[in-house]
């Protein structure tokens, strides 16, 4: 029996691993990774179109001083931020023909027309503020430029308004800079200054869950498609005269579980290679962040939960595949399963931020969620306690065993049925039948 299962496993494994789809998916992931990280770097280095801005400062109390400091040392009336030029255009270029009261309206119009990227309106001090500045822009999400303007403007205003009272410029500037406030991340190596790598490390569990989810879904869907294909090409009856339907189904499940592990391996190795070879600081930080999440224990649990999760969902998929003759039939039967599969993805952010909350713990013990939620919690902070991991794994193992047996019953009846796909109640009736 074992030998026959292994022969089916062998064929199913090779039939998947030797396909073009597998080659593409194996290559696609590292290629996407490379593109994902190199694209921003590439874009950074390409020229970006210049932007224009102006300042409306009736009486020119601060504007000239501000511009001088912004242009510091440059010959042109522009500043360079992040590879992009911001050109100053005097407001008169827009406002020379209108009344003073309508200046702001004209400039707003210019922003809307795209002739101007942003403009700054400075109004004199009131009782609470030294200066009231309003920044108008077409793109409020571009924060770099207003941040720089604000920083420089603060100094200009402070020097003009406060220096006469403070007397000492050094004291004034120290007062403006205020105190240093640094966030430190505590890791095994002791406290270290928080970096992007630490941020990535806190969100790495989501990447892990997503990888698990994609691989479980890809392999289960393939299993279903191949089952439907075996039915429609009628090869199934030839095979069932040589192996029992249980042996055949187990062979397929094990073969594709192996193919799934191979696929994960082909993702992991180039990924790890990429992070260790490429010297780009962004890539290095992402690598350090993800690497921190992938400890040996995490990898062990990842493989365990991939196998259990795959067998759990694959037996549903193979059962559905066995009763359907077309992919369309199968998809409509799978809708409730897909719905259940989506929930752990929706929970991902919540579980990452609240790994020890009651919802996270309960969801870990609901078998269809277990592989995803528990893999979300293992590399999280605080990590899931060992008893919960082992308990959830055992519960999932039990449910997987039940699911495989159930699928075997449905498979045995469904695989030789042609014509209309049965309804869910009919399938459940078969499942309850004693073989």
């Amino acid at each position: 029996m074992i030998r026959r299962i292994l022969w089916v496993t062998h064929r199913e494994y090779l039939a998947y691993v030797k396909t073009r789809t597998f080659l593409i998916s194996a290559l696609a992931f590292p290629i996407m990774l490379i593109i994902g990280f190199s694209l921003p770097v590439l874009l950074e280095s390409t020229a970006k179109p210049a932007r224009t801005f102006t300042i409306l400062d009736p009486g020119d109390r601060y504007a000239t001083d501000l511009l001088n400091r912004l242009f510091a040392g440059r010959e042109e009336e522009s500043i360079l931020l992040d590879g992009r030029e911001y050109h100053y255009i005097p407001p008169t270029a827009f406002t020379h023909q209108v009344d003073r009261g309508d200046h702001q309206v004209v400039l707003e119009q210019a922003v809307q027309d795209g002739r101007l990227f942003a403009f700054l309106v400075l109004t004199p001090a009131d009782s609470t503020h030294l200066c009231d500045a309003s920044y108008f822009t077409i793109d409020p999400a571009a924060e770099d430029f207003p941040r720089v303007v604000r920083h420089v403007l603060t100094r200009v205003v402070a020097l003009q308004e406060l220096l006469p009272r403070v007397g000492d410029e050094t004291v004034l500037l120290r007062g403006l800079d205020g105190l240093r406030f640094a966030t430190h991340a505590v890791t095994e190596k002791g406290g270290e200054l928080a970096t992007a790598a630490h941020m990535i490390r806190s969100y790495a569990p989501m990447a892990i869950v997503y990888m698990l989810w994609v691989s479980v879904l890809v392999m289960s869907s393939h299993l279903m498609t191949s089952t439907i294909e075996e039915k429609s090409t009628r090869v199934i009856e030839v095979l069932l005269s040589s192996v029992s339907s249980f042996e055949f189904m187990m062979g397929k499940l094990v073969g594709l579980a192996g193919a799934g592990l191979t696929m994960l391996f082909t993702w992991a190795v180039p990924g790890a290679l990429l992070f260790s070879v490429v010297q780009n600081p962004t890539v290095q930080q992402v690598g350090a962040g993800l690497g921190g999440a992938f400890s040996g224990t995490t990898i062990f649990w990842f493989i365990t939960f991939f196998l259990l999760g795959f067998l759990f969902f694959a037996s549903i998929y193979v059962g559905v595949g066995s009763v359907c003759n077309t992919l369309r039939d199968a998809q409509s039967l799978l809708q409730p399963v897909m719905f259940v599969l989506m929930i752990p993805l929706f929970l991902m952010v919540y579980v990452t931020n609240n790994p020890d909350s009651i919802i996270s713990v309960v969801a870990s013990f609901f078998p269809p969620f277990t592989p995803f939620v528990i893999m979300n919690r293992i590399p999280a902070n605080p990590p899931a306690p060992l008893w919960q991991i082992v308990g959830a794994a055992l519960l999932l193992l039990l449910s997987t065993w039940l699911m495989v047996r159930l699928a075997a019953k449905v498979f045995r009846i469904g695989i030789l049925m042609y014509g209309k796909a049965p309804t869910l109640p009919e399938i459940l009736r078969w499942a309850r039948q004693r073989s």
Binding site: R234, I236, V238, L240, S435
Partner: protein
């Protein structure tokens, strides 16, 4: 020893009785035909023998074993619905089936290659299955059925869709198989094939056994000889004679069946009086005639243009 023993096998599909209390013995070393119209229960019976579906009641003993897992490797099965993995290499497919039947990998490949040569498929060993013509695919399927040298060969409608050349190839292979001591069970709804090939047969109709036994016994015990008549002039009056039960036109000949009590001589005397008789031949009844008589359902079946026996209820226009 019997190659196959069925005892009171019954199978129902959602209320429809597909096989009804069938018992049967097939001795070793014969070619045994399963005969009946489409939908009679032939495929269901064969699938139960292969343990692809299980009977609701009754017991099956195949090659002296009750456990299907043990016998599976000793049987070669060609289902009615044939199929192979389209993208698999031909020899790989044959070897795969061999391995599933318990052969060692090298042995399965070697034997598969030998058989492919023998069936003139040698050039296609490393081609994918879908590169083969339909006729070649049928031969390849047959090769994969016998690659593990089974003791019992079960073929479900082996001749359907075969061209005359391949039909001869498969027929030869079946005869050769019997010569080497193997047992062949095959189903067909084409009676002439059964008549030509079988040592013994089993007739099934609407799920019930109608008849089984050696073909010679069946023919000699048949009560109704068929009379083949050729004459000059219009002999259609024969139909109206009181002791004639049925007349079938066979080209320019007439096949006439008389009722139980009547002697063929009465017919001859009557015909000679009216027209000139060219030949008058008392022949063995064909299997088809025997079947019609035993099924007791005259008028319910008809013969299609290609000589197939079709039940009127089974989706015929």
């Amino acid at each position: 020893m019997n190659a196959l023993e069925l005892d009171h096998i019954t199978k129902t599909f959602s209320g429809h009785l597909a096989v009804d209390d069938v018992s049967l013995r097939v001795p070793t070393g014969v070619i045994h035909g399963f005969i009946g119209p489409n939908g009679a229960g032939k495929t269901t019976t064969l699938r139960m023998i292969m343990d692809i579906i299980r009977p609701d009641a009754g017991t099956l003993t195949v090659l002296g074993e009750r456990d299907p897992a043990v016998t599976r490797a000793r049987i070669g099965y060609l289902p009615e619905e044939r199929g192979m993995y389209k993208k698999m290499h031909c020899l790989d497919f044959v070897a795969y089936i061999g391995k599933l039947k318990g052969m060692r990998p090298a042995e399965a490949r070697e034997r598969g290659a030998q058989l492919m040569d023998q069936f003139e498929l040698g050039k296609w060993k490393s081609a994918t299955v879908d590169a083969l013509s339909k006729g070649m695919q049928q031969k390849l399927q047959f090769v994969s059925t016998i690659v593990h040298e089974p003791e019992l060969l079960i073929l479900d409608e082996p001749f359907s869709g075969l061209d005359p050349v391949n039909l001869e190839v498969i027929t030869d292979a079946m005869l050769q198989y019997r010569r080497r001591g193997g047992t062949v069970i095959f189903s067909t709804h084409m009676m002439e094939h059964a008549e030509r090939l079988c040592d013994s047969l089993f007739m099934i109709h609407r799920g019930r056994k109608v008849l089984d036994g050696p073909i010679r016994d069946i023919k000699s015990s048949a009560s109704h000889p068929a009379i083949r008549l050729r004459c000059f002039g219009d002999a259609s009056f024969v139909r109206d004679l009181p002791y004639v039960t049925r007349v079938r036109e066979q080209g320019s000949d007439l096949e006439v069946f008389l009722d139980q009590e009547s002697n063929p001589q009465i017919l001859l005397q009557e015909v000679v009086k009216r027209v000139a008789v060219m030949s008058f031949d008392i022949a063995e009844p064909s299997l088809y005639d025997i079947f019609l008589e035993l099924a007791g359902e005259k008028g319910r079946q008809r013969i299609t243009a290609d000589g197939q026996l079709v039940d009127h209820e089974e989706g015929t226009p």
